[in-house]
Symmetry: C2
C-alpha cells in the first residue's frame, strides 16, 4: 500500500492479568525495558549478558554453563532443545497430557525422528507407569520429553521421578518448564535435567518474547557427537553460545533483543531479591486462598489436589453457565483477564493464573468478588457466599 | 547455583548509536514499549496486531496479506523465508558479497537443498551477469536469494534487476532487506519480490528482536504445494498466519512479544508520519553531508559511489591507524559507537551507520568532529581540516 494507514498511538486498557500468561509486568521491569537501547556488542551490554546468565542459573538451580535466554518465545526454546539434541531416525518418548505435549510431538516429527506418545487425560499428571512401559517397548529411545507444568490444564507432573526414569534407561530428559520456573520448585541440577526451556511471561513476569534454556553435560556431549548438522541455523546452540559466552571473544550471531534483555535482567533480579523459596511459598499460599474462595463459590478444580499448580488454577465451568459471557463481564466491568481453554477442554474450564507479579493478595480478592458477581448474574451461585 | 548473584539495576551508559545497528530508539518508541503488558489475545492487542500489519505493508510497499513480524530477530526472519519456501533436494542460487550471503547458504544447506554460490567481492554489489550465468548453468533453480543492503559492507545491490532475472527463470526471489527497509527505496510489489525479511533495529529504529516479513502470491502458491512439512514448527508460516490473521478466529500459536509489538507499532507510525519518501530523502541528504566530511578527513569509502548505502558508510581505516583505539576513544570520550567490521574486512574498515532515528544532523556533526580528533591523536589526518 502506498499511503499510510491512519493510526493513533497505542494506549493499552487497564488490565489485571490472571490468565495463563502473559502475567502482570511490574513497573520496575517496564522501566528497565524502556531504558535507552545500546549496542549489542557494547562492553556494558555484554557485562549485562553475563549477569543474566548468572541470574538464570540461580532461577534454574543449576551450574550449567550453557544457560541463556533464546531470543524468541518459549515455543522457540522448545524447538531449540529438540533440534540440538535429537537427530533424524532417533526415537523420543513424548508425554502428552495437554497442548504442549502435542507440540513436542510436532517438533520430533519435523526433525525426522520418531515419536512414541505416552498419553494421559488432560488435567492428569504424566503417569510414571506408562512411561516405564514405553521404555520397555522402546529401550533405545534417545530422550524422554515432558511438560513439568501444563499451562493448558494446570497439572504438575513429577519431574524428578520422570528424570530418574529417563536416566535409568540412558535417555536424555527434556523438560518444558515454561510455567513452572519461579512458581514451583524446579531443580535442574538436583533432578539431573538434561535440557530445559522456559518463558519470560509466566512466573518471571517479564514481557513475553524470550525463552531461557539450560543444557547439562550429557546434553552437550550428545551435541558434540552429532552426525547431522542442527537443522536450524538460528537455534544452533553451538553458534548461539559463541555469542553468549563470556570466555574469550564473542562472535556475532544475531543482534540480541537488547531491551528485552534489560527487562529479563530486572525481573530475575526481583526474583533473586525475593528468593526462589519465598516465591514458591507465595504462590502456594495465595493459591490456597484462591482455592478456598473458589470452592466457596461452588467451583470445582479440574486437577486432583496433589497435582495442582498453584500458578494455574483450572476450574470447571458450572453447568448452564455461559463461560464466554463471564469472561467478557470480568474484562468489561473489572478489567480482569482470566483464561479460556484449549482443545478438548474448550468451553469447559477457566484458567486462572496466579503468576509472578500477578500473584498478589489484591488479585485473589478481586478475582473472587468479580467471579461471584458474574456467577450470580447468571443464577449460578451454587452455595450461599458470606 | 543456590545463592543469588549480587547485581545492581542496569543503567545503560549514554550512547550515540552510529554502528551497523541497533540504531538509536526514540523516546516515543521506548515509552510505547514501556506501557503495561496486556494479554496476547486481548481484543485491544489483536486490533493492534492488525494495525501493525497495515503499517508494515506501507513500509514494504506491498499489498501482501502475509505481512507480519516474526517474533524473533532478522536471522530468524531469514530462516522463516528459507524453511517455508525451499524443500530438500531443490537448488537455490545465493549471492554472496558479504556476511549475510554466507548465512543464506547455511540456511539452504541445513534444509537439505543445494546452494549455488554467486560470489562477489566484499564491498561490491551483486554482479547481474554472474547471476545470469548461474541460471544458465542451473535452469531448474527454485529460488534466487540475495541481500539488498549488505550491512557488513555498505553495498546496495540492484534488487529490482535481480528480481527480474529470477522471474525470467521461473525462480522465486528471496530478499534480505534487514538494513534497507525505511532507509532506501524498497518496492516489494513493484519489483515483484516473492519473499522479504527485515529487522526492527536498523532504519525502523525500534529495539532489536523482531523480523518483519512479507510473502507474495507465488511464494504462497509454492508453500501450498509443498511435499515435505516445514522443518521448523516455530517458523511455519501456515501456523503463524493463523495467529496473525484477522479473518475469523485466531488460533493460538505462540505468545506474541507484546511490548516489542508496541514498540514496532510506534516506530512504524513515526515512519508513516514522516512518509517513506521523506525518510529515504533524509538518509540520502545526511549521507552526502557525512560523505563530504569524511572525505575532507582524507577517508575513503569501501564501496564505489553508485552502490553506496546512505545508512551504512564503510570507510577504510587509514594505514598505520590503530582502528580499535579510535573506536575506544570515540566510545570513551564521546559516547559514540561506530562499527568494527567482520570477515575479510576485519580491522580494515569502520562501519558508520546513519539509520532511522540516528540519521540526524547532530550525529553527523558529532561523528565528524570526534573522528577528526581521534585521527589527529594518531597523527593520521591526511589533509588539513578547516
Amino acid at each position: 500500500m502506498k499511503s499510510p494507514p491512519k493510526t493513533a498511538a497505542f494506549n493499552p486498557p487497564p488490565r489485571v492479568l490472571m490468565g495463563p500468561g502473559p502475567s502482570a509486568v511490574s513497573e520496575a521491569v517496564l522501566a528497565a525495558q524502556a531504558r535507552a537501547t545500546i549496542g549489542h556488542l557494547d562492553p556494558d551490554f555484554t557485562a549485562l549478558m553475563d549477569e543474566v546468565k548468572l541470574l538464570l542459573r540461580y532461577a534454574f538451580r543449576t551450574d550449567n554453563d550453557l544457560t541463556m535466554p533464546v531470543s524468541a518465545p518459549g515455543s522457540a526454546g522448545m524447538e531449540c532443545c529438540f533440534v540440538n539434541l535429537i537427530e533424524p531416525g532417533e526415537t523420543v518418548i513424548v508425554c502428552q497430557n495437554g497442548v504442549f505435549g502435542g507440540r513436542m510431538k510436532e517438533n520430533v516429527e519435523r526433525i525426522g525422528a520418531s515419536c512414541v506418545l505416552v498419553e494421559d487425560e488432560w488435567g492428569a499428571p504424566v503417569d510414571l507407569e506408562k512411561v516405564e512401559r514405553a521404555f520397555a517397548e522402546h529401550p533405545d529411545a534417545a530422550a524422554l520429553a515432558f511438560v513439568h507444568a501444563e499451562t493448558s490444564t494446570g497439572a504438575c507432573s513429577d519431574a524428578k521421578a520422570l528424570c530418574e526414569i529417563a536416566r535409568r534407561h540412558g535417555a536424555l530428559a527434556i523438560v518444558d518448564a515454561v510455567t513452572s520456573l519461579g512458581g514451583v520448585p524446579l531443580e535442574v541440577d538436583a533432578w539431573e535435567i538434561d535440557a530445559v526451556y522456559s518463558g519470560t511471561q509466566k512466573c518471571l513476569s517479564a514481557p513475553p518474547g524470550l525463552s531461557p534454556v539450560s543444557f547439562g553435560a550429557r546434553a552437550l556431549e550428545k551435541i558434540s557427537k552429532r552426525r547431522a548438522r542442527v537443522q536450524s541455523w538460528f537455534l544452533d546452540v553451538n553458534l548461539v553460545m559463541d555469542y553468549w559466552s563470556g570466555d574469550g571473544g564473542r562472535s556475532y550471531h544475531h543482534t540480541a533483543p537488547v531491551n528485552a534483555i534489560y527487562a529479563l535482567h530486572e525481573a530475575l533480579r526481583l526474583l533473586a531479591d525475593e528468593g526462589l523459596e519465598n516465591s514458591w511459598a507465595r504462590h502456594s499460599r495465595l493459591h490456597k486462598k484462591l482455592r478456598d474462595g473458589l470452592q466457596a463459590l461452588g467451583l470445582e478444580f479440574l486437577v486432583a489436589e496433589p497435582h495442582r499448580l498453584p500458578q494455574l488454577n483450572a476450574v470447571r465451568v458450572p453447568d448452564g453457565v455461559d463461560e464466554a459471557r463471564v469472561r467478557a463481564k470480568l474484562l468489561a466491568d473489572y478489567h480482569l483477564e482470566i483464561g479460556a481453554s484449549l482443545g478438548p477442554l474448550a468451553g469447559k474450564i477457566w484458567r486462572i493464573g496466579l503468576m509472578g507479579h500477578a500473584c498478589r493478595e489484591e488479585n485473589v480478592a478481586l478475582c473472587l468478588r468479580a467471579l461471584e458477581d458474574a456467577l450470580r448474574e447468571q443464577g449460578a451461585l451454587k452455595r450461599a457466599v458470606a
